[in-house]
């Protein structure tokens, strides 16, 4: 009897627990169901790139989204790393020039100029006057090419397709001009330490004059399509605002810095080439948004065409390469007829010219910003170390700051406004 009672009690207890469990689990289920039906407020991590048509190359960005707002954007670099800086340690200075073409591949001439200037600073040589004029003309043509490319792709990213066709029409004309002087459209390899590779043919000058005559009208065409277009204004005004102070702290340079109201242009403050002999001004924005940076680039194209016209008018006669044949290759005629020159030619080709030991940093105002080359020389024909301060790389650093709080649809605009090229960024 006693035993039976105990068993009954235990069975009852077990039954009770089971019942409780059933109730609890059904409760839990209802709670979970309720949770499911409410909106999820978790963060959303979106992977953008590296294969994305609007990231201008192989840039990967991790977007931390809160709804449609960007909370954080983490750029992931290195997909186009080719080790240019390391390869440069095994190449003579002349051999590095075609490598700089491939840094910022939409403005190769500007890269050539920046590198050649750094080497010339180490060598402490003077460049003939005509060469300086030619260099300035070509660098400014390259600036127009770069800004045309930027304007076309930026407008295309935002959704205005016709601008792209019109800017590329002009860009093709200028690239054809590059083809005349250096033989290639993009990989120019035109600047040399101590001057330039080839003189400007007559055809180049007449065609460039003709281009400049119609260029102002063509800029008007782009502005008709964009300047007051309400879609363009809505997509660019007050987007990716960065204050001048922040921009300086992030190391932003070039048009992106000047858009924030900082009047800083290396061509004005550390004049090189013949920039101090021609009349031009530095356009400066006020708001530091995408629209201001667009306006700055349009104005820069106008200023560049002014510089080119003045330089072409004043183009002096003379040599295009320095006479110092310790640095430049001797004339082919002498190489073929003179034994000493031939020996010298062999030495220059095999060992490269010797650069005195020391180090230097030389910044040049390229279309993207300040492109600097830091070269350490140990006195041999090859650099001991070459560090490239690429503006695109520095600008990527400000991406998170500039994109914070804007819509996910704006991220493409923000890439574009920084004018980044991954070849230069990853090097």
């Amino acid at each position: 009897m006693e035993q039976e009672k105990v068993v009954d009690k235990v069975a009852e207890q077990i039954e009770e627990t089971r019942r409780r469990e059933v109730v609890l689990s059904s409760l839990r289920q209802t709670v979970l169901n309720d949770l499911d039906s409410t909106i999820q407020t978790d963060q959303f991590l979106l992977n953008m790139g590296p294969q994305h048509p609007s990231t201008h190359g192989v840039l990967r960005v991790l977007l931390d989204l809160d709804g449609e707002r960007i909370k954080r954007s983490i750029p992931d670099l290195g997909y186009l790393h080719r080790g240019t800086e390391k390869i440069a340690e095994y190449r003579t200075y002349n051999q590095i020039i075609p490598m700089t073409d491939r840094l910022d591949y939409v403005s190769a001439m500007a890269n050539n100029y920046a590198f050649v200037r750094a080497v010339e600073k180490l060598l402490e040589i003077k460049v003939p006057e005509r060469a300086e004029y030619i260099r300035t003309i070509v660098a400014e043509v390259q600036r127009i090419v770069n800004h045309l490319f930027w304007l076309g792709t930026q407008a295309l990213d935002i959704g205005a397709m016709s601008v792209f066709f019109y800017t590329f029409r002009e860009r093709e004309e200028l690239l054809d001009l590059f083809e005349i002087i250096c033989g290639a459209r993009l990989t120019s390899n035109y600047y040399r330490v101590g001057g330039v590779d080839a003189d400007l043919p007559k055809e180049f000058i007449t065609r460039l004059y003709k281009f400049l005559d119609t260029f102002e009208k063509n800029i008007g065409e782009y502005n008709t399509l964009l300047e007051t277009n309400r879609i363009w204004l809505a997509r660019t005004k007050n987007i990716a605002v960065i204050t001048g102070e922040d921009a300086i702290n992030f190391g932003v340079s070039g048009p992106s810095l000047r858009g924030s109201g900082v009047d800083y242009d290396l061509r004005k403050y550390e004049p090189y080439g013949v920039y101090d002999q021609v009349e031009w001004s530095v356009p400066v924005g006020t708001n530091g948004d995408v629209y201001d940076r667009y306006w700055i680039r349009i104005e820069e194209m106008r200023e560049s065409s002014k510089i080119i016209r003045q330089c072409l008018d004043r183009l002096p006669a003379g040599k295009i390469l320095t006479d110092d044949h310790k640095i430049t290759f001797p004339d082919k005629g002498k190489v073929m007829h003179n034994m000493e020159t031939l020996i010298h030619h062999f030495l220059l080709v095999v060992q490269g010219f010797k650069v005195p030991a020391g180090d230097t940093y030389c910044g040049t105002e390229t279309p993207k910003g300040e492109l600097g080359f830091y070269i350490v020389s140990d006195g041999s024909g090859k650099p001991y170390r070459m560090k490239i301060r690429a503006p695109s790389f520095i600008h990527i650093g400000a991406l998170d700051h500039m994109a914070k709080g804007y819509m996910v649809a704006d991220i493409v605009t923000i890439f574009g406004t920084l004018d980044i090229v991954m070849g230069e960024c990853d090097r």
Binding site: S162, G183, N229, K332, G333, V335
Partner: protein
């Protein structure tokens, strides 16, 4: 002013002016080319495929000096020089390979060549289904050079190397005069 701006806004004035611009462009001449049928005229300094050149008597110019190999930034050229089998005082390139898969078309090899044996041409549309097909031997480079002799002369003229070659009248020790033609029994 106020009413004008208002009308402009409701009539999509700025978009209309943009459309007017694109519409006008329909009647302008196209700036594009129908590529395979029409081709661009390339400038003399165009840096296309690299070729080997010969003297007027069909003698190849290359002396196998390795300078192009030394200056090539992409390490695309490899040269094996040797003594010429018929003229023991002379050297030639026993093996010469130019790897166009590596070549970056910078034009430095032409600058380095002391005998103007190399030149660049306006050839650009060479392709191959295999990698080996783009590794050119000396014979291939010579035959390509025969095909585009005018291009190579134009290139050298543009780079101020042609005048140098023909201006030097004195028969210096290091002027490389063409050897009498083998064919004519000389």
């Amino acid at each position: 002013m106020g009413i004008k701006k208002f009308l402009n806004t409701i009539m999509f004035g700025e978009i209309m002016s943009g459309l007017k611009l694109t519409f006008r462009h329909m009647f302008k001449k196209a700036v594009t080319l129908q590529y395979p049928h029409e081709k661009l005229t390339l400038p003399d300094g165009y840096r296309g495929f690299i070729v080997h050149r010969r003297y007027e008597n069909e003698q190849e110019r290359c002396v196998g000096c390795d300078l192009c190999e030394a200056i090539c930034p992409a390490k695309a050229i490899s040269v094996v020089g040797d003594i010429h089998p018929e003229f023991p005082e002379r050297r030639y390139a026993k093996e010469y390979t130019l790897d166009f898969t590596r070549c970056i078309f910078c034009g430095f090899c032409v600058v380095a060549c002391p005998v103007n044996a190399l030149a660049m041409t306006k050839e650009y549309a060479h392709s191959s289904f295999t990698r080996e097909g783009l590794i050119y031997s000396k014979e291939q480079l010579l035959s390509l050079g025969d095909k585009c002799e005018q291009d190579s002369i134009g290139y050298l003229k543009f780079k101020n190397m042609w005048e140098a070659e023909n201006s030097g009248k004195e028969e210096g020790r290091y002027h490389f005069p063409p050897i009498p033609s083998v064919k004519s029994g000389g």
